[in-house]
Assembly symmetry: C2
Homo-oligomer: 140 residues x 2
DNA sequence: CATATATAAGACTAATTTAGTCTTATTAAG
DNA sequence: CTTAATAAGACTAAATTAGTCTTATATATG
């Protein structure tokens, strides 16, 4: 519970890699998949999604790959999550108002505040923050 | 993703109800289950768990039920989540260090900071906060 | 132009987690 | 003794997440 999905995790790993390698022409899905042990098909689909909304730019054909197309400082975790998983809500009623509780629920309003607080945290974390920091056992 | 489980949701509903009714002797699982349309067996198990760690106190036999056994101001969302779901981590590596990435992961350290920020939000939300606020369509 | 290496797209399956049910035992009030 | 509660745990169902497989298209390079 309250877990990020692998999709988001893999996207962060790939985006960080691209950011750190922006001097090079482009980074292929295969290259990232090999380096970080991510299933290629899965990573491909994630990168295709990011490419469709122009977070990264695809370069087709041999020697192709992807190039970062946003400023890391301006791209928040919330945006990434929205692109890959849809709107962020800690309970169903935080997103749509469908709820088996009908109108008996006694916690909707406080839960909404918790949800907003979490979204606020994620709004304030950008790809630059993810990219910047040193990780233990770092390869790139 | 990043969702609270029903267990936590039902626990909050029940705890809020008990808090708002602490003048009465005790509240039974059946009563809460009926009022909020929560499956009885499921709610029972949740309340048993909370009773084992003495967040609530069980009163057995006919006319039995549960009584709140903590000060709502001192009981945080983090504690509740820990009791019902175990330690809170937005990625597996936020909890234990088991990770298919081995030592190639490039985002562990920043993700840990995100995790801490979220835990911090939940630390600062107590049952009193949940209980206090008015909900729309409120019954009790 | 043939080949190798990329992305694009989507159907499909497997694995895991979450939600809910069912059964049996125990406790205490009336 | 009967009724209404909690206690405990095995079991099943549903939903979500993760991953695979297949086919098509694009392009650099020899």
């Amino acid at each position: 519970m309250l877990k990020l999905t692998r999709k988001v995790e893999y996207a962060l790993i790939a985006l960080r890699y691209m950011d750190r390698n922006k001097d090079r022409r482009c980074a292929s899905a295969k290259e990232i998949s090999d380096l970080y042990h991510i299933p290629l098909s899965l990573l491909s689909k994630i990168l295709q999604t990011l490419s469709k909304v122009e977070i990264i730019q695809a370069v087709q054909g041999a020697h192709g790959g992807y190039i970062l197309n946003i400023n890391p400082e301006d791209f928040s975790m919330t945006e990434l999550i929205n692109i890959l998983e849809g709107p962020l809500g800690i309970m169903d009623c935080s997103i749509d108002s469908e709820c088996s509780q009908l109108d008996t629920c006694n916690i909707k309003s406080p839960i909404t505040k918790v949800n907003n607080a979490i979204i606020n945290v994620l709004n304030n974390i950008t790809l630059a923050d993810i990219s910047e920091q040193q990780s233990t056992g770092l390869k790139i």
